[in-house]
């Protein structure tokens, strides 16, 4: 592997101009991808947390093209979120958007990513080999979470949206309110919470079986590489998806095709 750059040589990113305005606390850089950067800050009042997604201008791109793409992508992401929100797919609410300024402000979703929840769950059970759905260990909370993910995926696809970049890092576990726990017996677990989908930067509106199958396949691959010990539980996602979404059967047939192609291409990531 090439040497990773030292922290000192990390480029310092300028804030979007909107975050140079006064606020009760400085913005916190949460994530920095190829697309843009995500900050945690506040919206309107000090106790309303929000996520600001910023797509900075790309210096390599012709300015006309740059403005066109930034606007189109932010606007498309916002429309997808609106569509999901109105159809009851759990996504962050949109608070504000300035497509020309390259930013939008979204509801801050409390809770850990699903990735962390599953890792914590598995980490607390180091002796368990879950690859063969061990009957002796109670995996009910994990199965329940898989089902909730499948249900959310079904709802997403039913509404005519494909996410385009599904991983367990792009799903949050929003804590249940008191007494909302759906587990029998009352004891909470690290897998509790409503599954909320985030980061729709690559999402598109599509009704095609192919696009939906690829969406599932991307999640399946990400799940297998992120949580190899829980891979056997992914089937519960697909089962719940099948129950939630009327057109699931043809998507799942397509998924088998996509898996075959995927192996042939032997791609990574």
């Amino acid at each position: 592997m090439a040497a990773t750059p030292a922290a000192a040589s990390e480029p310092q990113f300028p804030l979007p101009s909107i975050l140079n305005n006064p606020a009760s606390a400085p913005p916190l850089l949460i994530a920095q991808g190829a697309e843009g950067r995500l900050y945690k800050t506040t919206y309107l009042v000090p106790d309303l947390a929000c996520a600001v997604k910023y797509r900075p201008p790309k210096p390599y791109r012709h300015p006309v093209l740059d403005v066109r793409l930034t606007k189109a992508r932010l606007s498309s992401e916002a429309k997808v979120l609106d569509r999901c929100a109105r159809d009851g797919v759990p996504v962050p609410a949109l608070y504000a958007i300035d497509a020309a300024g390259g930013w939008m402000a979204l509801e801050w979703i409390d809770g850990p990513p699903v990735r962390q929840g599953i890792n914590d769950w598995l980490g607390a059970r180091p002796e368990t080999d879950t690859t063969h759905a061990d009957e002796q260990v109670d995996q009910t909370p994990l199965v329940d979470l898989m089902r909730r993910i499948g249900t959310v995926m079904g709802a997403l696809h039913r509404t005519g949206v494909v996410h385009g970049d599904l991983t367990t890092s792009n799903m949050m576990l929003r804590p249940w309110k008191d007494g909302q726990g759906q587990n029998e017996g009352g004891e909470g677990t690290v897998l509790d919470g409503d599954v909320v989908l985030i980061d729709f930067g690559l999402a598109t509106q599509s009704q095609s079986d192919e696009d939906r199958a690829v969406d599932l396949y991307v999640l399946e691959r990400a799940f297998a590489s992120t949580h190899p010990r829980a891979e056997a539980y992914f089937e519960y996602v697909l089962k719940a998806y099948g129950k939630t979404f009327k057109k699931a059967p043809s998507v799942l047939v397509k998924l088998a095709d996509v898996r075959m192609r995927g192996r042939k291409r032997s791609m990574l990531g």
């Binding site: 750059p5 040589s9 991808g33 190829a34 697309e35 790309k58 791109r61 012709h62 990574l268 990531g269």
Partner: protein, 353 residues
């Protein structure tokens, strides 16, 4: 066997498209590569036409002996000094590939040297790494036949993104035909020169990136339509006339932005800040410039080679072949076939960690 100075020497034959290249490389005891010779002869078709497999294959057969002799003369070595004969197995055009493979087999039998079949794309990547010193870059491989974003992991060059239809170089070549721009020395080079005179206006072309993949056929179709519009006196978005130079400028700005975008996405994905551009389109200075700006913003840098190495050549086949040969790899005569489809990630890269 290493020679008295501890060197190993290989001759490489390349002819997957319209360039016939034969080169000779030496790896010294430390593993450093030294180019002893690098000879190329290009089949140039008239303006408005592309190179056809049959004519190109004929060209390679006609020039093989001349180019091989020149390569040996330039290197100043005896045939006996060669350790192996390397040749391109694919991917590429069937006829031209086969012509050169026949030549390589003949040399192998004539001189009693083992054959080493090489993946053309891996040849580009290894030569690029050797010339630039980029240790573990994300690689953008862009040529007339290929458009791939590649990163190395676990003994393979993994393809993270690629074109979903035609290659970027093919898009440029075909647009050069639309504008009837000369194919000498290369259509892409002439588009690049013409684009430098454009830029007054950016015309509207589709932008087709999907994740780390991209596609060019829709863009080419729209560019062809705009060319037709230009000939009939149509106006640009500013209500003014536009020129072939404006079209070339717009085409480059659009498709290069797509390439840089998917490369950046792959860099973010694997956490790398080095990028290496290889393949014929990699000679384009505007593409290098745009890639450099992106890499600089990520605190890294872009590595590119000049036309001797980024355009198809024999030396890269010799180099990649010798790397494999040094790990004990040989291609038996009866298995020394060519294949038009040969994915970069099919090669087991034994020579890297």
């Amino acid at each position: 066997m290493p020679d008295s100075q501890g060197r190993r020497i290989a001759l490489g034959c390349e002819g997957s498209a319209n360039k016939l290249g034969i080169g000779i490389i030496a790896h010294d005891a430390s593993g450093a590569a030294h180019v002893l010779s690098n000879v190329r002869h290009t089949f140039v078709s008239p303006p408005g036409t592309g190179f056809l497999p049959k004519d190109t294959a004929h060209h390679h057969r006609a020039f093989f002996v001349r180019v091989a002799k020149q390569a040996l003369r330039d290197a100043g070595i005896a045939v006996s000094a060669l350790d192996c004969i390397c040749f391109t197995r694919g991917p590429g055009m069937g006829g031209p590939l086969t012509s050169v493979a026949v030549g390589a087999r003949t040399l192998s039998l004539l001189w009693g040297k083992p054959l080493v079949g090489v993946n053309h794309c891996v040849g580009h990547i290894e030569m690029g790494r050797a010339i630039t010193g980029a240790a573990n870059p994300v690689v953008l491989y862009v040529s007339g036949g290929n458009t791939q974003v590649i990163a190395y992991a676990e003994q393979r060059y993994r393809i993270f993104g690629e074109t979903l239809d035609i290659a970027v170089g093919n898009c440029l070549d075909r647009f050069a035909r639309t504008l009837e721009i000369s194919n000498d020395p290369a259509p892409g080079y002439n588009i690049e020169q013409l684009a430098k005179q454009g830029g007054r206006v950016l015309l509207d072309l589709p932008y087709a990136v999907k994740g780390m993949d991209c596609s060019f056929s829709g863009i080419l179709g729209r560019a062809d339509e705009l060319a037709a519009l230009m000939r009939t006196g149509g106006k640009g978005p500013d209500g003014e006339d536009f020129t072939p130079a404006d079209l070339c400028f717009t085409l480059q700005e659009t498709i290069f932005a797509m390439l840089v975008e998917i490369t950046e996405r792959a860099m973010a994905h694997v956490g790398s800040n080095q990028v290496l551009i290889v393949g014929g389109v990699g000679c384009n200075e505007r593409l290098q410039d745009m890639m450099g700006k992106m890499a600089a913003e990520r605190g890294g840098s872009v590595y590119a080679t000049d036309e001797r190495f980024c355009i198809d050549n024999g030396i890269m086949i010799a180099h990649a072949g010798l790397l494999a040969y040094e790990t004990g790899f040989e291609t038996a005569l009866e298995e020394s076939t060519c294949t038009q489809r040969f994915r970069t990630d099919e090669v087991f890269v034994k020579w890297r960690n």
